[in-house]
């Protein structure tokens, strides 16, 4: 990975150059919150808080996407695969989301490659921005190992005073810089360490701590597969799937066919689905394999902290805090559930 130091106007220049060529998407203000959206000027970018309502996964797995079109022809059907992908720059992605994108990349590239995701992903340049203050009261990224993005980006910017410390993990990242900046010096590195140390302290002072050992989360979940917590929380759950929708690592989808009134032309569409929704695991015979809300809450939490953690060696909750905010009944926080289970098993 290459490290540079770039003057702030330099970054502005790079963004403005990109804007002339490509779609640039970044967090923009939306009422008292923020959301990723295509920007038209550098000024629109929201750096730091607040957290966006939904994560940038929508650029790779659109909320609704036509994956097939078909039309009647010669007694049969003419079928065309659809895979719309455009070149975009995703600017201002927070570390939790960079981690999440890395994780969903693994899922969609595993075994059967999902071209519809991967094509969009390949055409995107990821430019991350370090969070120096928590982006919401709900953020638990430090605890869930989501605050450090490693090299899971094309370019990553940390504000170290009057300049950005810039890490470039790919050619795409380097190209974005267009030669701006100079290689980072020993002093710059020291500045970076001290900024990050301050950052960690700020995040650490939050009251929310993860009580069990991070690496034992899968074990804790396995041992407490049967636990009163699930029912207690489940009882309050709406089954509204808000937690799934806003989660950067939730990627489940549903598929439906739509026909035009002429009954000749149609398309197949995939759209976001969520394991918290009642019909998610219901089969045609009427049998529902996760009928109760608590079954589904347990499943969701286990996916984040156990099943996928086990398989990929990292929590699939990156601590972005979105579900914690979205859940109107305050029951879904993976960290709080883990803590509650941990405390109640030890007494």
């Amino acid at each position: 990975m290459k490290q540079y130091v770039v003057e702030k106007p330099g970054i502005r220049k790079s963004v403005e150059e990109e804007l002339k060529r490509k779609k640039v998407c970044a967090p923009v203000k939306q009422e008292n919150s923020a959301n990723f959206s295509a920007i038209h000027s550098f000024e629109e970018i929201v750096w730091g808080p607040p957290q966006t309502v939904i994560p940038p996964k929508k650029y790779f797995l659109p909320t609704s996407e036509n994956i097939l079109s078909f039309r009647k022809r010669d007694g049969g059907f003419e079928v065309e695969a659809l895979n719309a992908a455009e070149e975009i720059v995703l600017f201002g992605v927070h570390p939790c989301d960079l981690n999440a994108i890395y994780l969903t990349d693994r899922i969609f590239a595993e075994k059967n490659q999902d071209e519809n995701y991967l094509a969009k992903r390949e055409k995107a340049v990821l430019i991350g921005v370090d969070c120096l203050t928590p982006c919401s009261p709900e953020a638990v990224c430090l605890r869930m190992d989501g605050l450090n993005p490693g090299d899971r980006f094309d370019l990553f910017l940390t504000d170290i005073g009057d300049v950005y410390f810039v890490e470039a993990a790919s050619r795409k990242g380097e190209e974005f810089l267009r030669g701006e900046g100079r290689p980072a010096s020993e002093i710059d590195h020291r500045k970076l360490s001290s900024v990050r140390k301050q950052r960690d302290e700020l995040f650490d002072q939050e009251e929310k701590k993860l009580l069990p050992d991070y690496n034992d989360l899968p074990g804790l979940m396995k041992r407490n597969y049967v636990h009163a917590v699930w029912e207690e929380h489940g009882e309050k759950c709406y089954g509204c799937g808000s937690c799934n929708m806003v989660c950067p690592t939730c990627y489940c989808f549903d598929v439906e066919d739509y026909m035009r009134v002429d009954l000749e032309n149609g398309f197949r569409k995939r759209f976001w689905d969520g394991c918290m929704l009642e019909d998610f695991a219901k089969v045609a015979s009427g049998e529902n394999f996760r009928e109760e809300r608590f079954d589904r809450l347990r499943h969701r939490t286990n996916r984040k902290l156990n099943y996928l953690f086990d398989k990929w060696g990292q929590s699939f909750c990156t601590g972005c805090g979105r579900c914690i905010k979205a859940c109107l009944t305050h029951i879904v926080s993976p960290l709080e559930i883990a803590n509650e289970i941990f405390q109640r098993q030890s007494v």
Partner: protein, 251 residues
């Protein structure tokens, strides 16, 4: 289903906005007119015919004569679609069911109240079997869902209508939840069936429950949420009853 099914539109107690939505579908209306034969459409036609495969009925039932008419329509139609909230759950009309009927009539018609027949407003399925519901006040997504139901019928397929709450689509749209706004607004989205693409929250207002309840709504949890937003249980109930007087879980 016949190649070009015959369709009749009928209306009972309501604001006729549902038929208006159908008339507003422009290009898609022309496509629809190509695919079905409209034999009855009072709002747009003086021609009437009693032979139809699909009856599309808007409005709630609120007078004795409407019952007999509805039963007659049901007898003739192979498929009956309830169009809009009034037909589906009674809609706004049911608000009056919770007050003294005579008082209500008196308030509007004064001492001549007893001359006007009207009883509790009811949804269609309180009286006859309804095969499909095109929900919403007005019918959702500019009548798009209604059209999907008609297409599914022509294909012999069960239409895809989510039974989960409005929040799902509200989140997909990336809305700031109205409970989380600077000035929070209390919302019926968590217990209301999705399908409108969260029309109201997307325009900055609360979901008012026009699509009826979601499948297995957690009303206890909702009461808690509403209390946190400053509403008493009675106020919450009153809010439900604005469009959902005849609440029936899972319908």
């Amino acid at each position: 289903m016949a190649d070009r099914p015959k369709v009749g539109f009928f209306s009972f107690t309501g604001c006729e906005g549902c038929q208006l939505v159908v008339l507003s579908m422009a290009d898609r209306l022309l496509e629809l007119l190509g695919a079905v034969e409209v034999v009855n459409f009072r709002e747009a036609s003086s021609y009437k015919c009693d032979d139809y495969d699909i009856a599309i009925v808007e409005g709630a039932i609120s007078r004795v004569r409407e019952i007999t008419e509805l039963i007659e329509i049901r007898k003739r139609a192979g498929t009956l679609i309830a169009l809009g909230a009034c037909a589906h759950v009674g809609g706004i009309n049911c608000m009056r069911n919770f007050a003294n009927q005579f008082e209500i009539k008196k308030e509007v018609y004064g001492d001549k109240a007893s001359n006007f027949d009207s009883f509790l407003a009811q949804p269609l399925d309180a009286i006859v079997k309804v095969d499909h519901y095109a929900r919403g006040c007005p019918p959702s997504r500019d009548g798009e869902e209604f059209l999907e139901i008609v297409v599914a019928l022509m294909q012999g397929k069960r239409p895809y209508i989510p039974n989960y709450p409005v929040c799902v689509h509200c989140k997909m749209k990336g809305n700031v939840c109205v409970f989380h706004k600077e000035r929070p607004i209390a919302c019926l989205g968590p217990v209301t069936r999705a399908g409108c693409m969260a029309a109201c929250p997307s325009f900055g207002n609360a979901c008012i429950g026009c699509r009826g309840l979601a499948g297995k709504p957690n009303l206890n949890a909702h009461q808690q949420t509403m209390e946190e937003a400053g509403l008493t249980p009675e106020e919450t109930m009153k809010f439900y009853r604005m469009l959902n007087g005849m609440m029936e879980v899972g319908k």
